[in-house]
Amino acid sequence: MMDGQLKKINTAEFSTSELETAVWEILETVSDPEVPVLSVVDLGIIRKVAVIAEAPEVLVSLFITPTYSGCPAIDMMNIQIRMALLEAGFKNIRIDQILSPAWTTDWMSKKGKEKLKAYGIAPPHLQKTNASQDSFQDDEVIACPLCNSVHTRLVSQFGSTACKALYQCNDCKEPFDYFKCH
């Protein structure tokens, strides 16, 4: 994936701030294995990137917040991030997990939300409407990502992955995933 796009970076030739920009660009190329249209940056799980001058190799320090506690994709994303940075020429990489503050869909980029919709997944609402524990509350009004109708219904709060709910459009009849507010 990186071939032709990035040559190996000689980390000694750049300042730490230039390298930091390069790291963010590399992270843009690493996708969520379960929602491949989103990069880990779009997803909002990268909380901090620091490039620290260290001998003999500069240290790339990343802080990642998992989306859901049991998300099976997080281990995969850690590996892919490490691989992408190694391929680009970084040798000293440290990835730490931070749990607080807890990940929220508010951290998903605007670009990410547009990509989701184009991919056929309804993006999370800007405002949380039903994240409470009350039973039989009114379902969120979610627009169909295909025909934009708001005449849709919730099929199940739990979908194909932890982060999605299953909806169906009453107009075009298409079932679709909704990336739920969290």
């Binding site: 506690s69 749990l99 524990q133 039989f136 739990f158």
Partner: protein, 251 residues
């Protein structure tokens, strides 16, 4: 609070989540309809993720070479500190959703307090987990209402489930030594407050489900101290077999 008590408290939280997750995962591929099978499998995944976070923290506290895996796969029943409620067999769908409702309500109020713990890592895990449990509580309470206030058959099944499960609910609120220590240190939670909130929520949902609220009965206890029902041994036999037969085996 000393390190051993803090470790025990963390293991107690981890074991509750792991064994509940294991039980719910037994439904994977057997749910009544596909969407509900997926729902319960997702919930199980959340539980197991929460357990991993607690086990990783417990391992770091022990600092003796233990890992999240060794804590889950290489301890025996007497070392497990989960409540008896979570190790009970699934029974039918009614018993599964009722037990999950009791447990999720407990976790919901417990994590609400724990996110303000003086221990930053426990607080962080609780903050994250609370978002997930909110969905579990909503989903399970809807099922309790749907079945309780459903047909004659579904109601009878909920009544039977209540009968089988109720005497295992009291243990959640009976503080054992490490919980008392944790609460005094500002690390744990006030279980009396959790109990009051739990009682209120259970009463309102059971009322809506047209199910009776049981008065105080004699409650089964022991799990938190490692004294379990025979069911836990069977769970561990299945869950731990691979790591015991092939130590260190990886996918």
């Amino acid at each position: 609070m000393n390190n051993i008590s803090l470790t025990n408290y963390t293991l107690h939280l981890a074991d509750n989540a792991l064994i509940m997750g294991h039980r719910n995962s037994e439904w994977c591929g057997h749910g009544p309809v596909l969407e509900q099978d997926i729902a319960l499998s997702n919930i199980a995944l959340d539980h197991i993720g929460q357990a991993r976070n607690f086990y990783q923290y417990a391992a770091s506290l022990q600092n003796n070479g233990s890992t999240e895996d060794s804590l889950a796969f290489l301890r025996d029943a007497i070392d497990f500190k989960n409540c008896l409620l979570v190790e009970l067999p699934n029974g039918d769908w009614a018993q599964t959703v009722l037990r999950l409702f009791f447990f999720s309500t407990y976790q919901y109020y417990l994590y609400q307090q724990l996110q303000n713990s003086k221990d930053p890592q426990l607080a962080a895990i609780a903050e994250k987990s609370l978002k997930e449990v909110t969905y579990h509580l909503r989903w399970s309470s809807e099922w309790v209402i749907r079945l309780g206030d459903g047909t004659g058959e579904s109601k009878q099944r909920m009544l039977d489930a209540l009968e089988n499960t109720w005497s295992f609910t009291g243990e959640m609120f009976e503080a054992c030594d490490y919980e008392t220590e944790a609460a005094l240190a500002g690390i744990g939670v006030d279980l009396i407050k959790v109990r009051n909130e739990w009682d209120e929520k259970i009463a309102s949902v059971l009322f809506e489900a047209t199910l009776p609220i049981h008065e105080d009965v004699w409650m089964q206890t022991g799990g938190k101290k490692g004294i379990h029902t025979e069911h836990l041994g069977f769970i561990l036999a299945e869950m731990q077999f691979l790591q015991r037969a092939y130590p260190g085996a990886e996918w």
